[in-house]
Amino acid sequence: MEIDALILSRIQFGFVIAFHIMFPAFTIGLAAFLAVCEGLWLWTKKDVFKRLYLHWVKIFALAFAMGVVSGVVMSYQFGTNWSVFSDKAGSVIGPLLGYEVLTAFFLEATFLGVMLFGWKRVGNKLHFIATAAVAVGTTISAFWILSANSWMQTPAGFAIDAETGNFYATNFWEVIFNPSFPSRYVHMMLAAFITTAAVIMAAGAWQVVRKHSSAPTRWQIRMAAGTLCVLMPMQIAAGHWSGEVAYEYQPAKVAAMEGWWETRDVQGTALFAIPDEENERNIAEINIPGTSPYLFPSAEGPMLGLKDFAKEDRPPVFMVFWAFRIMVGAGLCMLGLGLWGAFLWWRGRIDKAGIFHILAIPGGALGFIAVITGWIAAEVGRQPYTVYGFLRTEDSVAPVSTGQVATSLLIFMIVYAIVFTAGTVYMARIATRGFGDDPTDPPSKENRAPGTPLGSVDDKADARTSNTQPEE
């Protein structure tokens, strides 16, 4: 493959978005979790929920900061690397992104300040409203971004200007609620809640294994296991729905996900295969035959295989095929963890360290793995188009030089390596610390020099004073 600005821009976009997408996925779920905890605390007056809130809000602040800064990059890359796409599709998806900023970004960013720094200045109820505002903001943000992204998958409600070749909207309602939007939005929101639940369960399991567990730990594991247990089956249904819509509008993508080369009346499901794009076949395939009527009950006629599409219209099969399988595998593992956790809960054994807890620790990464691979399956599966069926990726790229993109790609790789590593370390440090040394009493101010924010107090020497107490 020739290394040019196009391929480097694609790598850069993929790299930057794969990094970015983990944070919204995590913060959408965590914001909801925090809102639930604070709400439960206000309602039940149980101290344990306040401790959960105060603990996880620190992680939220870190994740949110990383999500924001990597998100700013996304909004500018449309112009720097995909300027032709911006020119052509700007009139259609520009307003959706504009609405995201207007209805979500300001809400999140502004009330985050109150959420993190406003305890002393607002009452408990108002503080809860700030938390809820941030949580609602994250879901509104996801609404618009999924709408814009889904339009690129299943464009609707538009026409093409004969003179400039630019897209323009004929019906914004159809643009926003394009065919794949409802299923993809539901799928993504559930993914966010599940990802967060897996992380919260992993952190709790860690504390149990290390014998640091306390009342909030026990609550957090139960809440996470319950969430996984309830949402994972819903997620499987949502994923299935999404797949059906994809088959209707993007059959080449589904054929790549399933590894179907030939068009057949009934297709099977490959458990394992190595797609060989050169020779248009699968190597070492293990197949369950005859599954397609159950997976795609609404599909009419024969199930299209990749050979029905011209070579230059097919997505990269190997990547889509395997990304899809990893996503499904990660999802099934999380379903297993959720059911297992619920079973232990029922049997009264969920607080005793066991194999479940040991497995739940690495299980905290499963949500992120599923989100990233799911995104790869969806977006690489859209190739070779940016606007499916209408605008090719190679015709979307900006007139920038290979050297420029290579330079910026290198910069981002270094920056992200540093930032991501540090952020993960800091988040893991807080998450695994446990609640035992998280006192709920306000810290005494006498011990500190005036003008010292708590953050500057040495993390180890200081007895984890937490200064987020509301004044009651």
Partner: protein
Amino acid sequence: MDLPLIWSGLIATAVMLYVLLDGMDLGVGILTGFAKSDDERNLMTATIEPVWDGNETWLILGGGGLFAAFPLAYAILMPAFYLPVMLMLAALIFRGVAFEFRHKAVRKPTRLFWNGAFFGGSLVAALSQGLVLGGFVQGVTVEGRSFAGGQFDWLTPFSLLVAVSVAVGYVLLGACWLVLKTEGEVQKRARRRGLIALIGVALCFAAVSLATLSLDPQVTERWGFTMSSIEPAKLLPLLPIPAAGLILTALVWRDLSMQVEAPDWRPYVLSAGIFLSGYLGLAVSLFPDLVPYDVDLWEAAARDNSLMLMLVGAAIMLPVILIYTGYVYSLFWGKVDPDEAYHD
């Protein structure tokens, strides 16, 4: 209704708000590099921690608004400023996470690293914004519907001058903000640094104003300067803009050097006025071009139905945003209390 004109006004306002708000906190970030102690540095960042994220959102609205309302201008300008934009983004990443990370770093080297990242990120972000602004004002090469110049076209003595001006201007805003939010020694030092920055601002803005006149005949024409003569009929109505800048500079000087008893908020507001005069001067020079000297705002605009849809959203949401932004600023009004952080 002239939708492109309305939208250019809205985006100009968003960018101006960005400059006044995030410019202030970038300026504070640069000033942390000169903090005398860790305590002072922490106090400085505590003044902006609750609001920086909201401030930066105006940059997304500016960029996103340009994409949505003027996709052609966005498509031409972004590749033209590829490297400085990337540099700015990388700097903003470092700076944004440093807000949190510098409190979480346990060991001294990492804490120094994140303090440095905060200072350096703020400085580089300010400079690269200046490079983009400078490159924008001097114009870019356009062919058809895309940028057709070289990758370093933006790098000229003029853009370097603008870069320094923007950074110095942000420092002035940051210093004035610290005057408003702090007391005692820290405030005194902020006043002194503000005065130094103000001298820089006066020199830089004067130099940029004169240099701008040499960029394109359109600019001199607008201001009534020709090679040999001055046209008073054109110049006189515009003269209040630079005059206001000069008067405001003198007033800020008077406030910061404590020649008069001034309320702590006044230097910031007056400094914002200096920026506003410079901004207006620029707007007058370039109007109605969105890609200077090549593409005007009507050519660059998205379809009317897109602009209309967004206008409905903006008309409803912008007042709401301004109200709750104002509310949050008023919530954190007053001298900063470093004990309000949620960190541990």
